[in-house]
C-alpha cells in the first residue's frame, strides 16, 4: 500500500509543478504571463473546432460495432486458434478491444481482477497489455480529425502492428517473470 500511495502523491504533484514552473519561468523571462495565457486559451477554440464531428463519427461506428455483441462471436471463433499458440484465452478480449476502446478493455481488465485477482498471472498480464498500448483508432481519428486529414495511408496498419508487438512482448515478459 505504501508504495502505491507514494506513487499517487508523486503523480498528483507533477501537474501542479509543471504549471508553477512554466508560469514562473515565463515571468522571469519577462513574458506577460496573464495575457499570454489568454491568447493560448483563445487558440484552443480554433483547434478543437474539427474535433466534435470526428468524435461523433468514430464513437457512432465503434459503439454500434461493440454493442452488437459480435465481439463474443469473434472470441469464440478465435479461441481455438489462440490456444494453439499457448496464449491464455482470458486476455484475448483485452488484446482485441484495446486498440478500439480503452474503456471497454478496462472493463474486461476489471473482470479479470475480480475473477483471478490482480496479482495472478492473468491479472498481471492483463495489466501490462492494457498499459503498454494505446487506443489506436481513437488516437488516429482524434489527431487526424483535428487537422482535417482524410487520407490516412498506412498509419492504421502501422499503429495496429505496434499494438500487436506490444501484446506479444507483454506475454513473453510476464511469462518470464512468472517462470523465475
Amino acid at each position: 500500500m505504501q508504495g502505491g500511495i507514494k506513487i499517487n502523491f508523486i503523480s498528483n504533484l507533477i501537474i501542479p509543478l509543471i504549471v508553477v514552473i512554466t508560469i514562473f519561468y515565463g515571468y522571469r523571462k519577462k513574458v506577460e504571463v496573464y495575457d499570454s495565457f489568454i491568447v493560448g486559451v483563445k487558440k484552443s477554440f480554433g483547434m478543437i473546432e474539427n474535433l466534435f464531428p470526428t468524435l461523433v463519427a468514430m464513437i457512432f461506428a465503434i459503439n454500434v460495432f461493440t454493442n452488437s455483441g459480435i465481439l463474443d462471436l469473434i472470441f469464440k471463433v478465435l479461441s481455438p486458434v489462440i490456444s494453439v499458440f499457448k496464449i491464455p484465452i482470458e486476455v484475448l478480449p483485452i488484446a482485441l478491444i484495446r486498440p478500439i476502446s480503452s474503456s471497454a478493455s478496462l472493463a474486461y481488465l476489471n473482470n479479470l481482477f475480480e475473477k483471478f485477482g490482480p496479482d495472478s498471472f492473468l491479472g498481471l498480464l492483463g495489466s501490462v497489455m492494457q498499459g503498454c498500448t494505446d487506443t489506436t483508432f481513437y488516437v488516429i481519428s482524434l489527431y487526424f480529425g483535428c487537422v482535417g486529414i482524410k487520407k490516412i495511408r498506412y498509419s492504421l496498419f502501422a499503429g495496429l502492428m505496434a499494438d500487436l508487438i506490444g501484446m506479444v512482448a507483454s506475454i513473453l515478459v510476464i511469462k518470464a517473470i512468472f517462470a523465475s
Binding site: 491568447v39 491479472g123 495489466s127 492494457q130 503498454c132 488516437v139
Partner: protein, 193 residues
Amino acid sequence: MVNIIWLSMILIGVIYGLFTGNIETINNTIIDSTKVSLDLFMKIFPVVAIWMGIMEIAEESKLLQKLSNSLSPLLTKLFPEIPKGHESLSYIASNVIANMFGLGSAATPFGLKAMDSLQKLNKKKDTASRSMITFLVLNTSGVTIVPTTIISLRLMYGSLEPTKIVGACIISTICSTIGGLIVDRLLARRYKN
C-alpha cells in the same frame, strides 16, 4: 480506407444485432452516440483549453524550445523531414514526455498542437505526411512509464504489489515502440512514390 472501415463497422454491427435479436440495443446505441461523443468532447475541451494557455507561456518564454533541444538528436533521426528547430519538434517532445509519465490529459493538447504544426509543413493537406504517421505510431505504441490508471485499479482490487507491473510495462512498451517505428520506416519507404 477510412470510408470502408467506418461503413463496415456500422454494417456488421447492425446486421449482427438484427440476427441475434439485439436490435433494441443497436437502436439505443445509435441515438445515444452523439451524447456520448459530446460527453467525451466536454471532457477533452476544458483540458485542452487550460493547457493551451500554459503552453503559450512556455512557448513565449522559449521553455518549449529548450525542452526539445535536449531531445533533438533523437527527434531529428525519427523525423528527418522536419527542419531543425521547427516548433513541431518541441510539441512532439512535450507530448512524448507527458505520455511517459502517464499524464494523458496533458499529452493530448501537446499532441494536437504537434499535429497542427506538422500540418503547416504538409504539402498535401488532406493526406497524412510521413512525419505525422511516425508521430502517431510513437503515440499509439503507448510510451508509458507510469500507467497511473492501471496502478490505481490494481490498488482498488487489493493488489499487494500494485506497481509490480511497471518494469514489465516499460519493457513491453519499448518493444512496441521500437517495433512500431521499424514497421513505420519500412512502410514509409514502400509508400514513397
